[in-house]
Symmetry: C2
Subunit: 508 residues, 2 copies
């Protein structure tokens, strides 16, 4: 037994924590990113991807997009678009490295690029889940509760595009109700739905109203993000192309994210999957710059591997982590801000969910990601949004932000005189140096319990998953809806009424 | 809903995994470490620590150690030892940057230094815990079971000095039984107990027998490690000084680890705690080089923070992570191999245990640690060794090793021709490129379950903590004791009988 493994009973007592949250804000990342590829390897992958775009190209299913590529100098034959040498790099040159996203509450405006990064809540799962009711179809009321928590969690900068499907609402108009919830229950930035032009435009029009802008003023006001997944390998389908074009036309931010699962939709080798991802991402990014040179756009890295026994996607694997860090290097190579994610395959909010998410998060954060998508709430490979996972992730994100806050090194912090004064065998609890700093010296957890074991048992032995359930319920009870100008509220409702009457945006 | 958050039922089926383990071995770390301090800040901390040693110095309670410091040129007054300018850096110059640790099975020999790192199992807790029996006093039989698992887990390179106290054995001779178990149930390297000379020498003599060496031959054969905690602030107590000297005299590896909890035994500021850690570590390292110039030694970083509401140590905090990475920088500054740890404060093997351990592990691994101590099995701030945490940690360590294995970038891996051949809209499952590689392409988990949710429920909905319980029981049933020469076995038993008859090593 050594001093670092203390004898029984040594740890002290303390009351259960309340809801500890740092204020809303962005922490600048000052540490250098982790590089898992050499500069030569980055170049090798980049060159191979350019060659793939020149020789094989992309299948572009939407004719308007093909016409845009053609007008810009691409070779179009049938549905296939090939990119002549030099065109891609010339078009990438207009991508902005840093920009601001406008929220309806100016205090929630966001910077993106450089060291400024954004955590967005989970977007798009089919199911919802919590401790009491298990996994189930989601309703609109529950979705609104989830959004209230996203608003309440200060560490979340942006809402991620609807946390799960409210299956009690009709499919063709559901997006309008989701937008209404996003724009009224939150005053943070949110993500648009970009499946088809109608749906995309509805989101842009609604956000224009929320910001008090005319639609044409949106072009100069990046505010919404939208995820554009290529249909890997090497395809861009019609709804995604329409969404991309509508977003770019109106100055909004596309996040071009190939869905390159190594061993399924891309080569089983990570280098091959990354090369394909890079090619598909560049093809999409180029299209945004053709539509509107200078419009903000992100490079999405989502490469993971499948479980080769089942073909099911795996997440938060070591391959995922490496791919995230390598993707960051590839995005920096072409000067485009980088999006990664916080993902896992776990079925429950257990140790597996935590370590898979940590593997993904460390990949994203040390990979230099500017947008960490699905940063909170993602479970079961993205099929499910979990209320408890939302809280678990918020804790892990808060810890990341505290880690990103650099160590202060100054004469006062070094405290040479204090150590000399306390001297051998003393202690620092009562010193002025400690007393002046202790309240803000260390990260205070939201979810972690630091009781000693007897106390912990006495208080019910509540594990992290159950504590997360207590926390979101308390947070939901404490939620206050952000104010919205009554005129804008009315305008929004009228718009939604009209669009519903028109039939919304039917899926084909 | 986007492509990355799939609709229901998409994930495939697969049988429950067996016990997936890569073979025993060391993965070279090729990535650059994460640096949270600038070079100037490292220098500032280093200079302040040297100044602290020169002006205030250390209280050295053991007279033999004081005499050694004095003979080497330190100023000794009473129990206080001060280090004149230049002495510390001159003595640090003889520390080897890389060395080999000999195991009784040569296939388990270990390299340490550069990119070569070692994962050691938890050492020293008071209690043991598992899912069925909860936390309790440990017995020798249970301790032997824990050691059998440490032997069986290939990712663990080294046993960590006795996983918990076997309280059914008498205190004065318990260490002899622990050594006997370490040396017979495992053929891996193990850690010695270094509380007092007698106990330390018993370990060295036993390992000499196990290696078939004379005691005097041990000086040229680094094999055992021993943790030396300074009694922070600025003290080295008698048992630890005796252990350090005995280890160094016999060519064995001290791991000098100040126990600097920011806000308790060191300043509340991380820079202050690190400065004090650095001073104390250098004082201990210098003593090893005075005893035996060139003897291998490690710089231990264990700085964490306390929970300021209770004074209890917290582990796996963002401060811990930063301190680990900063400690790596400080250790590299003085050219001494670096030790960090995988620690947490959680009471159960839940999501908190996983994310706290991940925060610690990422700090250790990206901090460039050469020894990751307590790498598997640590729970409850080091008070408890957990059978299930052992398995959880083994999974997380296996994932780290897979992450540390670089992405292969070659023409074959880039697979440009394969992507071109599969073409837009195709898939890669059946290609020759995939078929030739899929069995070894990705990390195969030990603990993670990748079933889809319906299957997972059908198979009992077993969470990670319960699965870990199933795994260690299966592993224990499969355990095979490594062979030991009968002559050596007899010699060991005779030695232990004699030392027990002599009364062992009574604690004062």
């Amino acid at each position: 037994m050594s001093a670092e493994t203390p004898r029984r009973g040594r740890r002290g007592s303390r009351a259960q924590a309340g809801l500890n949250q740092p204020p809303f804000g962005q922490v600048e990342r000052l540490y250098a990113p982790v590089e898992v590829l050499s500069a030569d390897q980055v170049e090798q992958i980049h060159r191979a991807a350019l060659r793939l775009l020149a020789v094989t190209g992309m299948r572009i299913l939407e004719s308007g997009a093909r016409a845009l590529y053609k007008a810009a100098g691409c070779e179009v034959s049938g549905e296939d678009v090939r990119f002549p040498e030099g065109l891609v790099e010339a078009r990438l040159a207009t991508v902005p490295a840093r920009f601001t996203l406008r929220a309806r509450n100016p205090a929630r405006n966001l910077t993106l690029g450089g060291g400024a990064h954004i955590y967005a809540s989970v977007g798009g799962p089919a199911y919802v889940m919590d401790n009491e009711r298990g996994r189930r179809d989601g309703s609109y009321a529950e979705m609104c509760d989830f959004l209230r928590l996203v608003q309440s969690l200060n560490v979340l900068h942006q809402e991620g595009g609807g946390p799960f499907e409210p299956l009690d609402l009709p499919a063709a108009t559901r997006h309008l109700d989701i937008y209404h919830a996003q724009v009224t229950l939150l005053d943070k930035c949110w993500q648009n739905q970009t499946l088809g032009r109608l749906r995309t435009m509805d989101g842009i029009e609604i956000q224009a109203m929320a910001l008090g802008l005319k639609l044409e003023e949106m072009a100069a006001t990046p505010s919404l993000m939208g995820i554009i997944n290529t249909n890997s390998p090497l395809q861009l389908d019609i709804p995604m192309a329409e969404g991309l074009i509508a977003m770019a036309e109106h100055g909004q931010v596309n996040v071009i994210t190939p869905f390159t699962l190594a061993g399924a939709m891309s080569p089983v080798t990570l280098a091959g999957a990354l090369m394909q991802q890079h090619a598909e991402a560049m093809a999409g990014i180029v299209l945004t710059q053709i539509v509107r040179p200078g419009v903000p756009v992100l490079y999405g890295g989502f490469t993971s591997n499948v479980d080769m026994r089942s073909g099911a996607p795996a997440f938060g694997t070591p391959e995922y982590t490496k791919a995230a860090q390598a993707s960051g290097q590839l995005a920096r190579r072409i000067g485009v801000p980088f999006r990664s994610s916080n993902v896992c395959a776990a079925n429950e909010v257990d140790a597996q969910a935590a370590y898979e998410s940590q593997m993904a998060l460390w990949g994203a954060v040390t990979g230099g990601a500017h947008l960490i998508n699905h940063a909170a709430g993602w479970l079961q490979g993205g099929l499910t949004a979990s209320f408890e996972k939302l809280i678990l992730d918020a804790e892990m994100l808060q810890m990341m932000e505290a880690w990103l806050t650099p160590i202060e090194v100054s004469e006062a912090a070094l405290a040479l005189d204090v150590v000399a004064e306390v001297g051998p065998g003393g202690h620092f609890f009562g010193t002025d140096h400690t007393m002046a700093r202790y309240e803000r010296a260390f990260y205070a957890p939201l979810l972690s319990n630091w009781d000693n074991h007897p106390q912990w048992l006495e208080r019910g032995g509540v594990e992290a998953r159950a504590r997360a359930g207590q926390i979101w319920k308390q947070m939901l009870a404490d939620y206050e809806q952000p104010a919205l100008d009554p005129g804008i509220a009315e305008e929004l409702e009228a718009f939604i009424r009209r669009r519903k009457a028109e039939g919304g945006a039917p899926m084909n």
